[in-house]
């Protein structure tokens, strides 16, 4: 998707970062000063803020009150909880400490 064209004004691209307080302080001050002079940008910013707030309010009312789901594993996890198989027992039998020097010999 191509980048959208912001408003004709040079400050158009600053609207969204400003709304989310992600504009550096100097640019933020410049944007605020511009809002006092440019009614088109003020109206546009108000319009975007309105749409944003509706989403924010929806999230707050419908989701924020929900408890975070917890999950319980249906079985104990970790190697110490895995029952040894017949292969493990054979390995232990043939590769136990006494077997190594025997094989090396």
């Amino acid at each position: 998707m191509n980048d959208v064209t912001f408003t004709e004004c040079e400050f158009g691209a600053d609207m969204v970062p400003y709304m989310y307080a992600e504009l550096p302080a100097k640019k933020s001050a410049a944007f605020e000063a511009h809002l006092l002079l440019c009614s088109a940008c003020t109206d546009e910013f108000a319009s975007l803020s309105n749409a944003r707030y509706e989403v924010y309010d929806w999230k707050k009312l419908e989701f924020d009150g929900l408890a975070t789901p917890t999950f319980e594993a249906p079985f104990e996890s970790g190697p110490e909880h895995i029952a040894p198989t017949w292969v493990d027992k054979m390995r232990e039998a043939f590769w136990g400490s006494w077997a190594v020097p025997g094989i090396a010999f």
Partner: protein, 192 residues
């Protein structure tokens, strides 16, 4: 009925001391002015205060409204001024560690969500509309909205996660908000 009148007509009536007319202006615009203040200040309590101050200032200066601009633009301008005043006060407060309780006696409570049964139903309908509007966005726009508003990720984090340039992330969010605005404005959110 006041609800059938234009904003300009309501201002005209308010100038001639019809307080109900001004009340209708407040009712019509309080949520949008609150949203603008929230967009500038980032906190609901600060936004609420700034919105109240906006309507107080508007009431005081309503006789000066000449009609060159739309009533909404006039209110937006007052709101921007109030928000910048709030920011300056907050900055001064953080520097001086002094509270600022001036003007409490002038405050008139203006809340964006009074909990009467009619408002509760209106709020439920609004939520449904917003849910549908967000769901109907193209997926590349919807994911940016969700990551920003629900996951509260920064633009940088979204950019890295989606492997998109930062400018693309910002422009997608801008487009998403514009499309949401059009979808929500197409359907009246207030019950008359």
């Amino acid at each position: 009925m006041l609800t059938d009148l234009t904003d300009e007509k309501l201002v005209e009536l308010a100038v001639s001391r019809n307080s109900e007319a001004f009340g209708e202006i407040v009712k019509r615009w309080e949520r949008k002015i609150f949203a603008l203040c929230f967009g500038m200040l980032g906190r609901e309590d600060d936004a609420r205060d700034a919105a109240q101050e906006t309507f107080i200032a508007a009431y005081r200066s309503i006789a000066n409204f000449r009609g060159e601009a739309k009533v909404s633009s006039w209110l937006h301008r007052i709101a921007v001024n109030q928000c910048l005043t709030t920011k300056r006060r907050a900055k001064t407060r953080s520097e001086d560690f002094l509270g600022d309780e001036a003007g409490e006696e002038d405050r008139v409570f203006v809340a964006p969500a009074h909990r009467s049964p009619a408002n509760t139903m209106e709020a439920a309908e609004r939520l449904t509309l917003v849910r549908q509007a967000v769901s109907s966005l193209p997926v590349d726009l919807r994911q940016v909205i969700v990551m920003k508003e629900f996951e509260e990720m920064t633009f940088q984090e979204i950019s890295e996660t989606l492997e998109l340039p930062l400018s693309t992330v910002k422009s997608r969010l801008y487009t998403a908000l514009r499309q949401l605005r059009m979808k929500l404005e197409r359907v009246p959110l207030e019950i008359s």
